[in-house]
Subunit: 649 residues, 2 copies
Amino acid sequence: MFSILQMPELDQVAINDKLWNHYTNMVADVIIPYQWNILNDRIPDAPPSYCLENFRITAGETAGEHKGVVFIDTDIYKWLESVAYCIHNGTGSRFEAIADEVIDLIGRAQQNDGYLNTYYTIAEPDARWSNLVEGHELYSAGHLIEAGVAYYKATGKDKLLNISRRFADLICSVFGSGENQIKGYPGHQEIELALVKLYRLTGDRKYLECAKFFIEERGKQPNYFEAEISKRNGQFLFPELKDYDLKYSQAHVPVREQRTAEGHAVRAMYMFCAMADLAVEYKDEEMLNVCRELWLNTTRKRMYITGGIGSSGHFERFTTDYHLPNASAYCETCASIGLALFGRRMAAIEHDASYYDIVERALYNTLLAGISIEGDRYFYVNPLEVVPEACMDATSLKHVKPVRQRWFNVACCPTNIARTLASLGQYIYAYDENTVYINLFISSSFSFEVGGEKAEISMEVDLIDSGNVSITVKTPTDRRLRLAVRIPEYDRTPEFSIDGKKIHTESDRNYAIVEVEQAGNQTVLMKLKLKPRWIASHPNVSENSGKVALMKGPFVYCLEEMDNGRNLSSVFVDTKETVEEYRDGSLPLGLPYLVYKGGRLTDVEWNGNILYDDARFNIEPTVLKAVPYGIWGNRKPGEMIVWQKALLR
Amino acid sequence: MFSILQMPELDQVAINDKLWNHYTNMVADVIIPYQWNILNDRIPDAPPSYCLENFRITAGETAGEHKGVVFIDTDIYKWLESVAYCIHNGTGSRFEAIADEVIDLIGRAQQNDGYLNTYYTIAEPDARWSNLVEGHELYSAGHLIEAGVAYYKATGKDKLLNISRRFADLICSVFGSGENQIKGYPGHQEIELALVKLYRLTGDRKYLECAKFFIEERGKQPNYFEAEISKRNGQFLFPELKDYDLKYSQAHVPVREQRTAEGHAVRAMYMFCAMADLAVEYKDEEMLNVCRELWLNTTRKRMYITGGIGSSGHFERFTTDYHLPNASAYCETCASIGLALFGRRMAAIEHDASYYDIVERALYNTLLAGISIEGDRYFYVNPLEVVPEACMDATSLKHVKPVRQRWFNVACCPTNIARTLASLGQYIYAYDENTVYINLFISSSFSFEVGGEKAEISMEVDLIDSGNVSITVKTPTDRRLRLAVRIPEYDRTPEFSIDGKKIHTESDRNYAIVEVEQAGNQTVLMKLKLKPRWIASHPNVSENSGKVALMKGPFVYCLEEMDNGRNLSSVFVDTKETVEEYRDGSLPLGLPYLVYKGGRLTDVEWNGNILYDDARFNIEPTVLKAVPYGIWGNRKPGEMIVWQKALLR
C-alpha cells in the first residue's frame, strides 16, 4: 500500500504510433502555434480570447478593461504547460524563446505580494478572495503552478516556477485554519493537485499542507460558500448561478463523506485527483477508500461508454445513477481528461491495470473526439447522439454544437487536450524498482535504468487490425526484467510468447506478469483478440434499454449520416450478423469502417404527413457503416449515433 | 368563408358527465376557494403569491415593496375570469360578493390615466412601457380585459369591464403608428385576442384596430425589440434572458411571413388565436392561410401525442420539426390550453371538425394531467416519460417536477386550468343559423332557440366503454334541425341511428350531417368503436422510433411505476396481443386500466455492477397495466412512460 508507481519523465518516452503520432506530433506542429494565435486574438473567425492582452494591461503596458471570463489566464498557463511537455518530449524546443517572453510578461503582471490574476487586478482590485465560489483565483493559480513545475522540469529554468511559488506562498499564508487566515477553498478545484506537484518538486511541506487544508475544509459546517454567498446578498458574477447549490462544487458535505460523483464534472475529477494524491502523501487509508468508492460510482453508474461524464447540460454536471441521456449529454472534454488523470493516479496507487480500461476509453474516444483531425477545431461537449437541427441556441440543447468550433468563450478544453496529448507518454508506462508496467498499447519506446544501467523497452502495437503487441526489451545481459502488461477488458485471455515461444503468465491485478529471464534483447508478443463486440448497458440505464453500441478494442464506433443517411434513430442492428472490416481510404488516418447488416424503419407505409397514426412498422434491410467515435464529424456535418436499437428476437 | 360558427354562452350548456363533472364541479367547489387562499398567501406550504398584497400596496392601503414576478397581477385576473364563468354556468354565484370586493380593490389600484400594473406602479413608476420584451404590462392588461368581458357577460356588472376599458383606452392611445405613439408590441402576446373580445362586446373598433396594429407590427424591420434591448444596454429583468432571441417571442419576421411554430409555446398560441380572430374580423384570407400553415406545422410536426407542445425546457419553447424528446419535454399546461383555444377558433372559421381531434387530445390528456384529482396540486410541465430521481434541481431536467405542486412562482397554469374547465361548455357545442355542431363527446345539454322558439339538445356519452353517443333533440314540433356531429379520428366510420333506426349520413369536413326531420323529441345515436389502438409516431420522430403508445378514444395511456415496477424504459410491448380492459376500482373516477402482455429486459444474465458489457438481452414475459395519462401521478409518486418499445418481428 502507498508504494506508488512512478511515471516516466517525458524525455524517457518516444511515441511512434500510427494513430497517436498524428495527434501528438500535431501539438507542436499545429496546436501550439494555432492556440498562440488565438491567445493573441489573431484568428479572425474565432471568438476573441483577450488572454494575453489582459496580462499586458495588468502589467501596465497597455490600457484597457479586462475582457473575457474571469479564469481566462489559465489559457496561457495551459498553453505553457503544453509547450513545456513538448520541449520535454523533444518536439517543442522551437517554442522556448516565445515561452520565455510570455513568462516574462506574466512575471510583470504579478503583484508585489505575489498575487497574480488579471481579472481581479484590473477589474476588482479590492475584491481579492471575496468570491471563491465563482472568482476562480485559486483555480487559475493551480494552472499557473502546474505550468511552472512543467516548465522547470522541461527546461531547468525556474522563472515561471518562482512566479508560481511566490503566488503559492501568498496563498498558503492567506488560507488556512490560523486566526487571521481565510477558511475558504476554491469554487473550482485544481490548485490542490497543483500544490501537491509543487510539494513533490520542491519538498516544501507547506504546499502539501495547504492542499490538505483545502480538501479537508471543503463542505464542512458552517459552510464557507453559503456564508460567502449570503455576504454578497446572493448576487452572482455568472447570472446562471442563481440556481447554485453546494453539490455543484462538491461542497455539500466534507469530502470524506462523499460517496457519489456530484456536481460539475471537471471540478469533481480534479478534486478526486487531489484526494488520491493526498491519500498517498499522508498514507491515508480512509481517504483512499473514499477515492475507490468515488471511482466506482463514477465509472459504474455515471459514465458514458465513451468515457464521457456529466449527464446534465445545465451546470455541466453529474445527475444520478444510471441517468445517461445520449443527445443531451454534456461529456465535457476536460471532464474525461480529469477522469484519465484520476484513473492514472488510482492505477499507480493500487498497481491495478483495470483503471486503465477507463483511462484508455476516455483517451481513445472523448479526448480524440474533442479535436479535429487538423487540430484547429474542438468539441467542448461530446454527446453520443446528434441531430444537428435540434441543437438550437436558446433551447435545452444549446450546449451541443454539432460541428467542432474554432474556439470558445470558455476555452478550457482546447488547451487541456494539448497538454494531455503532449504528455501522453506518461500514460503508457509506469515503473517501480522491480517492474515496468505497460498500461496503454501505443507504439513507443521507454528508456530507463536498471541498477544504474541503461535499458529500453520498445513496443510495436497494432490495436486496429492484428491485435499484436510486440514488446522488445533491451537490458544489460545479466539483468532480468519484470514486465507487467495490462490485460485489457476486451481480451481477458491474450496469448503471450517470448521470441516466438508461447509462455504462460500469471496475472496480478489485471497485469500479466512476464519475467524476461534471458535479458538482452528479447521480444515479448501479446496477441490480443480484437473482434468487434456488441456492447449493452447495465439494464438500469433506461436510455439504452434494448440498444447496443459497437466496440473494437478500446474504440467505440458510431454511425454518421454521410455513411448511413438521416434519421439514425430509426436504425436497428442485427447483432447475430457478422461485422466486417472495410477500408477504402476515405476515413482519416487510414482507419477502417466496421460494416454490418441491420434494418431501418421507413415511412413506406406511413400515412402521409400525419404525426400519430395506427402503428405500422416497416423495416427495410440495410447495410450500416460505423466509424470510430473519436474521429466522427471530421468529414461532413450531420447526424451521429452511438447507441443503436437491437433487433431483439 | 368567414361565416364563423358561434359559441354558446355558458348558461346555455349544462355539463352532466361522469368524468368531466368531477373536474368542472371542482372549479367552484375546490379550485376557486383554494386559489383564493393562495392569492391571499394563506396556504402555508405553498410558495407565497403576493398577488393581492401588491394590489393593496398599489392602492395605497398598505405599505411595502412589490413581490413576485412582474406579471403576478394576471393570477387574480384569471381567477376572476374563472369566477365569472362559474357564475355564468350556474355553479359560482356564491363568489360574486367576494369578486365584487376584489374588483373594487383593482379599481383603487388603477391610476388616474387608466394605467394598471402593480409591478410598474410600485417598483418602476417611471419605466412604464420601457421593457416590452419582459415587462408583461400588455400581457397583464389582456388578462384584465378578458376578465372584464367575462364578468360583464356573467353578471351584467360593468365595473371590471370599465376598469379594463379605461386601461385599454390608454393602451390604444399610447401604442400605434401615429407620430407620438409607441410602435412596440407585447413581449408576451395575449392582449391582442383580449382586444378583439372587447371589440366584439363593445363594438368599439379602436380595440380591434389596436389588436391589428400589435399583430401587424410584430417582427417588422427595424425590429422594435432589438432597439429596446440595445437601449437597455442588454440588461434583462430575467437573468436567463441573456440568451434572448427574437424567435423566442415570435418577433423574428412579420407574422404573415411565419410558417413554423417558433419560440415560447404559450406566446405562439395566444398570437395564433389573435391572428385567427383578426382574419375573421378583416376577412383576411392571407392571414387565415398563415393560421392554417401554423396549425399544420404545430400539430403535424411539433406536437406530442398528448397535445403537449414545447420541446425545450429552456425557454419553454418549440425547437424543430419532429424533435419531440419525451423526458425533457416542456409541454406547459398553458400551451395546450392555448392550442385548444387556437383549434376552437380554426374549427369555427373552417367549419371543420378535425381541429377538434387536437383540441380533444389536449383537453383529455395535458389539461387533465395539469391538475390533481383533488384540485389543489398542479403540473406546469407535462413530460411523457418521468424517472423521478433524474428530475434534479440545477440540471437540464430542473423544469420537470415528478409530482404535482401546490403552486409556482410563475403560476400561470393553475388559474388557466380553472378558467378552461369553467368554460368547457363552449368547446362542446357550436352553432350557426342552420346547424348545431357537436364537437366534443361530453354528456351535457345545450339550450338554444330555433326561429325564436326554445330547443334543447341533450347528449349522453359513454366514451370509456360502449362508445355510445346518444343525442336527444327537443325542438318545437314543426321544426327540423340540422345536426353536425364530429367524426373523430379514432373512428372514421361510426354508425348512426335515429330512434333505433339505422341511418346513412353524409359527411362534410369531418362532421356527419344528421337531418332531424321529425323534430320534437328524437334520439340520434352515434356508435363509436372505441377499441384500444397502438399508435406510432411519424418515422421522422427519432425519439419514438420503434415505439408505440396506447390510446383508446381520445385517452392516451401510460404506464406508472406503482402498477408496473421500476425502469419502465426496459418494457417492450407485443402489439399483436389483445389489450383487455380491467377495473378494480383503484383508479380515480372509476376509470379502467388497459392490460396487455409484453416483456421486460431484466438483469438476470447481467454481469454484476459492470456498466457496459457484451450484449446479452434477457426478456421476461410480463403483464402491463396502463392508465390514462390525464390521471397519472394521482396515487403514488414514481416513474411514468407513454412511449413503449414495440417488439418488432
